[in-house]
């Protein structure tokens, strides 16, 4: 299946390991990703907070470019980009056709399915206890996302279980990490990210799995600050779900860019006999 691929800005910067692992995993599952040519930034929280027309225009340009690729589906690993693009597609559908927009987690769990995901596993992630963390925009707003449950999502849990890992039941699956405030109001990210970490820790998770560059950056890079604020040591690695898929599919930790994570995941993986 050939799918248009919209990486988004973070995937060229802080989340390059998400991009690399996503491409490799998709290839393994038989998805041919074709990058949307000359794509632009969706404007993220910045644009929609300042001007509604601007944010619409930015996503409309991307959607029009996808339209010229003559592909039925476009996928993006970033929930922010995906919700903007889905919004644009909803408007375009009113005036004719538009390609189907799917977040990468949605593409893999709906178009491939857990059985297919499981059948490619070479090295099961046995014994790894994970908290699947979806954050806000993978499933919300539900009228636009049209994927999974907005508050009790399960798709990533099932995917991780198909890789042989365990997932914990916990309270903060779809709570916000502080989103765009990492630089401008850091205390909000330390507060909300801290709540997410505490909940995952309480539930007995050994690591988190995420599907969003903002979630990864906020929970991973601010973890030390959270720990010193709360006086608790969490030491919870924050993986992109695609990195975990890659490990289970036999890719090396180098190919999955695991050393790029700030909370070092290698000791945990060695302890579990995964590396």
């Amino acid at each position: 299946m050939i799918v248009a691929y919209y990486p988004g800005c973070s995937l060229e910067g802080v989340a390059r390991e998400y991009d690399r692992s996503a491409r490799l995993v998709c290839e393994r599952l038989g998805f041919g990703l074709q990058e949307v040519p000359d794509w632009n930034c969706c404007g993220a929280t910045a644009a929609h907070s300042l001007d509604h027309e601007l944010t619409r225009g930015l996503s409309a340009r991307n959607l029009a470019t996808v339209g010229r690729m003559n592909l039925a589906t476009v996928t993006t690993p970033c929930p922010g980009c995906s919700i903007r693009l889905k919004g644009a597609a909803m408007e375009a559908k009113k005036e004719g056709g538009a390609p189907e927009v799917m977040h990468l987690l949605q593409l893999l769990t709906e178009a491939a399915g857990t059985e297919k995901i499981a059948s490619s596993v070479i090295k099961p992630l046995g014994g790894l206890r994970l908290a699947a963390y979806y954050g806000c925009l993978v499933t919300r707003p539900r009228a636009v996302a049209r994927f999974d449950d907005p508050e009790q999502p399960r798709s990533m849990d099932r995917l991780l279980q198909a890789l042989g890992a365990e997932t914990v039941d916990w309270s903060h699956k779809a709570e916000c990490c502080g989103g765009a405030f990492a630089a401008s109001e850091t205390s909000i990210v330390v507060d909300l990210g801290g709540q997410v970490l505490e909940a995952a820790h309480q539930a007995g998770a050994e690591a988190l799995a995420v599907a969003c560059p903002m979630c990864q950056v906020n929970i991973d890079t601010r973890q030390r600050e959270v720990e010193s604020t709360r006086g608790v040591r969490y030491d919870l690695p924050v993986f992109y779900f695609t990195q975990l898929m890659g490990l289970a599919y036999g890719f090396t930790h180098r190919a999955m860019g695991l050393k790029r994570l700030l909370v070092n995941p290698l000791p945990l993986l060695k302890r579990k006999g995964i590396l």
């Binding site: 300042l50 601007l54 919300r140 909000i188």
Partner: protein, 193 residues
Amino acid sequence: MDTDFYTPMRLDEVESPLQDEVEKALGIDIETCMECGKCSGGCSNAHIFDFTPRKVVQLIRLGAEETLLTMDALWVCLSCQLCVDRCPSGIDIPRIMDYLREKALREGYRPSRPAVVLFYELMCSCVERRGRVSEAPLMLRFNVLTGQYLKDLTLGIRMFLKGKLPLTAGKVKKMDEVRTLFVSWHRRSVKRG
């Protein structure tokens, strides 16, 4: 006075030009709010909001425009979309917040959190120049312009060494298509402001 206190205020008897404006511009019918408070119950940042989402909706009903355009909640709302998903009437509060933010800036109200607005503006100007956002230069510009030269220095270095903050990023080729969008945005802001 005591009897007045216990007489419920009839919001449907209050004139609110802002409520009409929201209905006309966004197609959102505030009248369907039944004040159940699920929006505020779910809001991740309600504990630091000066006005919770439920109050924001009621303030629109009251026509309390100045209060809404100067409130701190505007600039610490996360746009996490929980309130709209929990609202039994489907009132799109995040869209209302966007509308109020836009209106507040257009009408020249000083935001209570200038750093938040500055960050948004710097990010947009990045898109205006290159079509995409490059995180490292954005962070540097933000820290310089807010005078926080040492903010996140150690973290920044750690991230840089991990290759998380590349100094160069992709650029859009057909920049004229992107710039057109920004030109009309600036024209809109000037015309209204």
